[in-house]
Symmetry: C2
Subunit: 214 residues, 2 copies
DNA sequence: AACACTCTACGTACAAATACCTATTGCGCA
DNA sequence: TGCGCAATAGGTATTTGTACGTAGAGTGTT
């Protein structure tokens, strides 16, 4: 790492951010580091300071890591984004990689792995946590057959979200100003797409796919 | 803080643990710190090294923070436990406080709050993140009226668990070797006790109350 | 002995969800 | 221009869930 390396750290958990900031600042090499707490703040920062490497959390308020990564890559396509996720969720890493991330680490990675990831992306290489690699390989074949969140349309996600809130089709129809029969139809399609056979399975699917938070 | 203060850090996320370890080690006062990655490791450590203060994560593999806290308090009741949680979940903090925790911080607390919490528990006081306090106050009145996990009988929990797995009453009846009408009745009672009005709400309740894991 | 509680079970009625049809509109892509 | 797809909506039938009754057998407590 050269002394001019500019590194941004984007995470909404203050303690985690402070700790990682400290670790990064106490290596042999001293990159220039700026830390912010969500995607929007990162974009604001980018207006007059462009990071070479961004360590990006995914689940954040205001603007999440996926949206933020897309925006960053649009304006500064040479930026190297390293995703930092709490969970090894299949949808997350595929979406982050779509969004332009070059590396993907779990938050229970060691700091050494963070350093390895930084070196890797600087050399134009990719880097993944062992757990992520394992998960990718395990899902390689399943992927093609199984529907994911992105297979649900926007409207379907909206319907599913309201189902999770405990609303009946009738109630959902009323708040969306459409016929109950339309909601029936959407629900039927969602069951089919998610390969669920009842409401309980739908709710579990929604939570696993981050359509609904408990 | 005196120089002899002994502090244990229990968290399964390596990066978070390493970062916080670093921060704690670079204060003016230098406590003696040992870091482990789950409750069982903490208990093993306690065998020949008793911490004065324990910074304890809740969600951990092998042994979670609640179980670990109970064990620690049984053997070393003077230990001050500070809980570190990702979410402001109502059940978590009540269970952790039952288990003997004196302070409760969220992981998006600042390091300053960690220091304040440490000072507070050393003086025998309690300490809570502002978000936690807010949540506690908001739930103060609700608490007494609302049933919690313990209000469901063992059988009801079993039924609810199977509902979350996506089984119908008929299917549940078959695997439990009872009549479908009995499962109907259990389900009705569960709806009443949890103040839910349909399956979706039941599943959300079950997850919030750790009866079912996604 | 009286009481409370759990688990069991049934009757009845109605509401909601599931399943399999068809069909129109509008929008974007090849 | 034609094609696919999302969103809308209805018909009809069946299954499942929700709601309010009752009630016996077993267990443990006062």
């Amino acid at each position: 790492m050269t002394e001019s390396l500019k590194l941004a750290l984007v995470d909404d958990h203050d303690l985690f951010r402070e700790g990682l900031y400290f670790l990064l600042n106490n290596q042999n090499s001293k990159p220039e580091i700026k830390a912010v707490s969500n995607g929007q703040e990162l974009l604001d920062l980018q207006a007059n300071w462009q990071a070479d490497i961004i360590l990006m959390d995914i689940e954040m308020p205001v603007m999440n890591g996926i949206e933020a990564s897309k925006e960053v890559m649009k304006k500064y396509p040479n930026t190297k984004i390293i995703a930092l996720s709490m969970h090894a969720n299949e949808n997350y890493y595929s979406e982050m990689i779509d969004a332009g991330a070059k590396a993907f680490l779990l938050k229970n990675s060691s700091f050494e792995e963070v350093q390895q990831a930084i070196e890797a992306v600087m050399e134009g290489k990719n880097f993944f946590s062992p757990e992520i690699l394992e998960s990718i390989i395990k899902n390689l074949n399943r992927k093609k057959n199984q529907p994911s969140k992105s297979d649900l349309t926007q409207r379907e996600v909206e319907i599913l979200y309201n189902i999770c809130k405990g609303l009946s089709n009738q109630e959902i129809a009323e708040i969306l100003f459409i016929s109950k029969r339309t909601v029936d139809k959407h629900r039927e399609n969602i069951l089919l797409k998610t390969q669920s056979k009842n409401t309980a399975a739908l709710v579990i699917y929604a939570i696993k796919n981050h359509i609904f938070e408990v």
